[in-house]
Amino acid sequence: MTKAVPRTQDAVDKSASITQENYRFLQQHVYQHSGIVLDEGKHYLLESRLIPIVRDVGLADLNALCHALRGVGQAPLRNRVVEAMTTNETLFFRDKSPFDALRLKLLPELLAAARHRPLRIWSAAASTGQEAYSIAMLLLEQGVQPSQVEILGTDLSEEVLARAREAVYSQLEVNRGLPAPYLVKHFTRKGMSWELQERVRKMVRFQQLDLRSGIRPLGMFDLVFCRNVLIYFDLATKRAILEQIRGVMQPHAYLFLGSAETTLNVDERFLRKVVEGAVLYQSMEARA
């Protein structure tokens, strides 16, 4: 999920300003330390990734950050900048093991349980769509017909959902985690980017949603991916969200959380299981 950061336009414009010389300095810095080429005109990327650092360390703007990076003894700051420019993307097939579990164990069971209705899968922190589309591609590869499944992707941010619906990804994004045979089969090259083919796009519907609001209207699900989002919330909110999620899980349904997340000490009404190296959860109440 993308966290909205409220700020005024003035603040954005001032802190995001950068001279051409400093832009080139950052290009070189990121390339030297990560191999990533930052093209001309990617000011929005610099802004979205580096302004949080600028604010955190109490600097005025990106130029001041460049000045600080040139100084001695700034290795932690330099690493932080490189990390900010190279991580936090939503990946295709992130963590691998949930997808292995789905492919090897869960899918036949879930299809049997869904019987004559479509299998319903929810990507609860869909961001720019990679998780939902990974599920769609995996199901297609397993011979599931698009009519047999409904995949819903939700996120707080309409901005990222617009990108998810567009389904056009940069070379860097498709390089990460997406198996090359899937790229060749399900994407079409579009200039310097890659566009997901319509057959896969049509399997996923995206909808704006704040997890802290009521999620009952979404209906019931057979499988829920809610990964790397609970970490942003305090305990009470985590508890409330997990309770709501339990409320929309079919009795046989499974929940995947992020690798650093757990229901332990948050909501004890989940049963933890390990399948194909992936940790997943079922509602105890539903199974009782």
Binding site: L172, G177, P179, L183, V184
Partner: protein
């Protein structure tokens, strides 16, 4: 310890890739082109588990090397990942059909290499 070969005519790329592989536990050897890689492959004492292979190189290019490798049953167990500036879908398909297990487009990051190795069960 698993053994990997990095084949690229750029010393810088070889250095980056070998460092990544060594950090995750591979013993590494390097070659500057396909021909050199083939000659090295023939006389290695312990078997190779993994090859990271550039496409455009002098003497013997990556695709030529890949086809030669996959035609030789002795090397059936070696996993191979292309790491190249060739970014067209047709080229990617050509390499996969020739027997590449994975494909990374340059520029890459360490995370990209590790993610792809994970996909290949080589990490």
């Amino acid at each position: 310890m698993s053994q990997a070969m990095v084949v690229d005519d750029s010393r810088t790329i070889r250095r980056i890739l070998t460092r990544t592989l060594q950090d995750i536990g591979y013993h590494t050897v390097e070659a500057g082109n396909g021909l050199e890689a083939w000659e090295m492959l023939e006389c290695l004492e312990s078997p190779l588990d993994l090859i990271l292979l550039d496409w455009n190189m002098p003497e013997m290019n990556g695709l030529q090397f890949l086809r030669k490798l996959r035609a030789d049953r002795r090397f059936d167990d070696i996993k191979l990942m292309m790491v190249t500036t060739e970014t067209q879908a047709e080229q990617m398909l050509e390499a996969l059909e020739a027997g590449a297990n994975e494909y990374v487009m340059k520029p890459f990051t360490r995370d990209i290499i590790e993610d792809k190795l994970r996909l290949m069960n080589a990490l």
